[in-house]
Symmetry: C2
Subunit: 329 residues, 2 copies
Amino acid sequence: MLLKADKNNSITVAVDGNGGDRDALAGIGKAAKFALTLYPGMKLIVYGARRLEEDLARGQALGPRCEFRPAPVQIPQDESPRSVLSGYSQSSMRKAIECVREGEAQAVISAGGTGPLVVLSRHILGTIGRIRPALCAKIPAGPGRFSLMLDLGANARCTPEDLCCFARLGTAAGRVILGESEPACAVLNIGSELGKGNELVQGARELISSCKGLRCNGFTEADRLFTGDNDIIVTDGFTGNIALKSAEGVARVFFHGQGLKRYFAKLARPEWLMPWQYNGSLLLGVRGTVVKSHASARQEALAVAIVEAAKAVKAGLCQALEEDQLTRP
Amino acid sequence: MLLKADKNNSITVAVDGNGGDRDALAGIGKAAKFALTLYPGMKLIVYGARRLEEDLARGQALGPRCEFRPAPVQIPQDESPRSVLSGYSQSSMRKAIECVREGEAQAVISAGGTGPLVVLSRHILGTIGRIRPALCAKIPAGPGRFSLMLDLGANARCTPEDLCCFARLGTAAGRVILGESEPACAVLNIGSELGKGNELVQGARELISSCKGLRCNGFTEADRLFTGDNDIIVTDGFTGNIALKSAEGVARVFFHGQGLKRYFAKLARPEWLMPWQYNGSLLLGVRGTVVKSHASARQEALAVAIVEAAKAVKAGLCQALEEDQLTRP
């Protein structure tokens, strides 16, 4: 399995073309073209239903840098793990992940269901050590600044040990992605005082504080998520998903105002907060670069997520996580 | 204990003047004046440090409709339940709650810590049946429309039975506050499909679906909180707190843009989403009207919360909850 860019410094990203909402997928041709323009050293292999080939042609993406491979089957996003593993051998998601295992691509991106993507990635690529993989997003923290937040839905049930493990993953990823030598890490909680919250966050804070190589900032509250107070924000997948979706919901209310308000909102919105700029969550902890795109992501957002995948490969994210795991006490 | 307006149809609200952030409290005089103007049939009894009396005088609030009573002690917001119960007999929070128990006031409002407020209210006023009280907020759902969401932080650890109990409380409150005869109720989750989420929400959904007198809409996601899809949104206190605070955090980014953006944001913001309009969470399940104001609430927001308290008394909210509890199968 090739985890890094190949000898020619070319990076290939496998795209699960079937995942995501129907409307969103209509623009895959343009998204591919946009991504190829943004990242000149990149190639794409797109798996999906036949009509995607036409869309790729219409978007002027098909060519030496973008190959289409038919894989008509789409995995329903709420399919059970058992069914995901036993069936769907012709699904675009499975084929795209297998493409990474075979070393043809170094990264895979999908807008399909989180559950199936996590299950298949773990199964096909394997995990780094005994880690529970977690979804990690760049969240905006000011103009040109980001924090990393994990988990966002790969694990609806977590233990304090899981959260400590996420802190390790996030810190190692933060060094690579944020360029911080000692990323500051905090646990998402309903208050910043020591005694606040439930057993999960209490235990996680203790473990993270006493873990070598982690810089623990204690607790942080959800209204401080977008302020850059912390480089890494750690939470269970249930809470992380709720926090980000709630933020999205409010942002949408602003963007979709009526009449003049809509116009002013366009002028008012901080560019750095635009959702499409931070599409693409990394599934950290599996042995390969796996990116989950928002199911409703449109062209620009999908292109951004594809480029994120290539950048993660280029930066050697997976190797960094493996090395960190090897040095773990 | 008088739960309803007295014979003269006058409503008295006891105000814990010491709670909340220091900056926010500076405006209590103006807040009181504003509230008295908004609600002509209301009287206030303000407990707090001496300097509050001056502030009330400066705000032209002191007079026959607004009495000041010295109570210098403030309970730290992260004080342990044991210490809250055993000490602080001269605290403004305790005195204000006792004022409701004695029948002098019909409602109490505090911007102090959620923990102390819940512990003291339960202890002094008692609960309706064996209910675990929950904090319930009106959340904006469009121009002039609201949903009710609970719990928001009174219970960091919940069982499915607790969430079902919150659904009962919320539904009974929804009839009174929203004027809906059959409020539709949903459980906050990370997906709307049946199998999504953890044991807590799965169990809660089952209980609520099979509970007579409740209209269950299944699951709802956090990006649909402000759309009015549901009248009542039920969640544990940890998740509810995270969801609302995350939304606040994003809204703040918009409102506090730089330069011209700030100006456009003012023009763009939907009036119905302004945070100060929906300040004041009701602690449902205790035998009296208890309102929690945001710790950082300013004059207008504090006034709104005081008026909310009076309105809840006027509408007979507590009686409605007690009656619902009595008819419980």
